[in-house]
Amino acid sequence: MNEQSSSLVKARGLCKRYGSKLALDNLDIDIQPGRIVGLIGPNGAGKTTALKCLLGLAPAQGELMVLGLNPRQARTALLEDVCFIADTAILPRWMKVSQSLDYLEGVHPKFDRSRAAAFLQTTSIRFNSRVKDLSKGMITQLHLALVMAIDAKLLILDEPTLGLDILYRKQFYTTLLNNYFDDDKTIIIATHQVEEIEHILTDLIFIKDGKIVLDTAMDTLSNTYLELKVRDTELDQARALNPIGERSLLGSRALIYENADRETLAKLGELHTPGITDLFVAKMKASPGKTGLALNVAEVSQ
């Protein structure tokens, strides 16, 4: 299969500058259909900027095609096949739930009203409620109901669960997987809350200071990255093998390696595939930059 032509999203040398700040620094991205891609980075890393470029909301330098279209020039056409939820609680506050259904039915060629209505039946959201009377979690549910009823090819979520309590956060992704996702659909999720989406991703992109520091499929992650648990006695030996990250566990240390020799490491202790959270911390530390890292590490490890 020709990967280039089947790419849903294809970016080459994507750059975006805000004044003197380079928000996106020469990004190359390829996203295939039927994937769930996590775009993960600390606050201010360029996630939202990248998504805005994909959606044609901001101009950028470099080559960028989404569904074979230039997002800046063909934004309206593109939006028939691309949905996005930019943040929680951006639905207009005056709108009634029923009006939101009417509106989408009126303007969106791929909106299936009965689907949205059926999903809303399973929630406590009433059709004659106004958005301003709904809780933040319910607003997200409503937005999700609207978006899931659109038969789009690409769904872009930017921090979709920000500010929601844990029940809604779990439910959000469960619903997305069970009721929406299939082989014809692609989802891009930008977040800094890695642990939340760890289990549903098929692909992983780490971004930091506008640069991609990791771009891998989840099933090949274990080929490249290894986590070694060592006791203190083997610690010096392990450290000599250039780990990209290290953290302490109860009575031992865990070191993360990139492209290391599995045989050599196995002699020193237990080998695992690292968790994404730990890998994220390691990668962010391994490529020091301007971003306030201490803060973000604290957020990730929460």
Binding site: L55, L57, P59, R75, T76, A77, L79, E80, C83, F84, I85, A86, D87, A89, I90, L91, P92, R93, W94, M95, K96, Q99, D102, Y103, L104, E105, G106, V107, H108, P109, F111, H143
Partner: protein, 332 residues
């Protein structure tokens, strides 16, 4: 979904969003007006105070019973009030607000209907100005702009929708409200006449052309809106450009230019051309009656059609700039 619904639904959305301003306000005004007219009718007929609605103000007048031979029976009074001039002549009763309405003397039914129409015209214009100023700002302020932008509606359509709502849809609301008010007023007047045993219900009816008059005012509002298009376009542009206050954004730049112009050149051309575009002024909203020739002169006549089309072009430039801002600088 089809093309038609994709065009209509955004207009509907404006009415959902501004329900209070677009629909409730005219409805409440209609109600208040009917109460006022009912009371006015009663007072006029039973008491010594003469009230008529003329232009955009109520006229109060003491009835000069000494100089005028006031008709004694209720029925002929009502007939005079409702515009039966023959009855007035027969009674030798001089109408008090002679000439104010610029139509046949003492034609109160017609005057009242005109007043109603004018009121709704003025309200429609004020609502349009207020609405336009907020229309491309509020969604950016509350963050819902990203929701609207997530749907396959172009910014060009969004901006044009707001313009069309202000120039055409709001006048239609005023039109409907004026017709409803007019008919209820007529109904009340005829009921009153029938109660007093008059036979002139047909005369009341014949004297008033509710729909015809409102249609004329509807046309008037369209002309006003199109003539004032540069101002409407400027308000949309200010609304799209504002980071804090669309009002300041709309007022300060022209004010500064006007001041600089008068300071440096000693002229006030911008002020003059602004004044010429004030909604309603050009078509002589203060002058009563309907002047079709005048409106067609404004639109197509030799003297002003160049100015009219120039205005539309300027409005087009402002709208295009607003679209550009919506596409490129929508974040606050």
């Amino acid at each position: 979904m089809n093309t038609f619904s994709a065009l209509i639904m955004p207009v509907k959305r404006e009415f959902w969003e501004h329900r209070a301003l677009f629909l409730l306000l005219p409805a409440v005004l209609t109600g208040l007006l009917l109460v006022a007219m009912g009371a006015g009718l009663l007072i006029t007929i039973s008491g010594n105070i003469n009230i008529s609605i003329s232009g955009d103000k109520l006229q109060f007048g003491e009835r000069e019973s000494s100089s005028n031979v006031a008709p004694t029976d209720m029925d002929s009074q009502v007939r005079i009030l409702l515009g039966d001039d023959a009855e007035a002549d027969r009674q030798g009763w001089e109408p008090i607000e002679q000439g104010v309405l610029g139509t046949s003397d003492g034609d109160i039914t017609r005057g009242a209907l005109m007043g109603v129409n004018l009121l709704f015209v003025v309200v429609a214009i004020l609502v349009a100005l207020y609405y336009l100023l907020g229309s491309l700002f509020n969604d950016r302020k509350d963050g819902s702009v990203l929701f609207w932008k997530s749907l396959p509606i172009s910014e060009t359509q969004t901006v044009l929708t707001k313009f069309v709502v202000a120039v055409f849809a709001l006048p239609l609301v005023a039109f409907v409200a004026a017709i409803v008010s007019g008919f209820v007023y007529l109904l009340a007047a005829m009921l009153f006449v029938s109660q007093t045993g008059s036979t002139s219900i047909a005369a009341v009816w014949a004297n008033a052309s509710v729909i015809g008059m409102s249609l004329q005012y509807l046309l008037l509002m369209f002309v006003i809106g199109l003539w004032a298009a540069p101002i409407y376009g400027w308000l949309l542009l200010a609304s799209a450009a504002a980071k804090r206050s669309p009002f300041m954004m709309a007022v300060i730049p022209p004010a500064v230019v006007v001041m600089i112009e008068s300071w440096l050149l000693g002229s006030h051309r911008l002020l003059d051309s602004l004044y010429a575009r004030v909604p309603g002024d050009v078509v002589g909203i203060k002058e009563p009656g309907f002047h079709f020739e005048r409106y067609s002169e404004i639109l197509f006549g030799h003297s002003s059609s160049a100015a009219f089309w120039t205005g539309l072009i300027v409005a087009g430039v402002f709208l295009a700039a607003a679209v550009w801002l919506r596409n490129n600088r929508f974040e606050i």
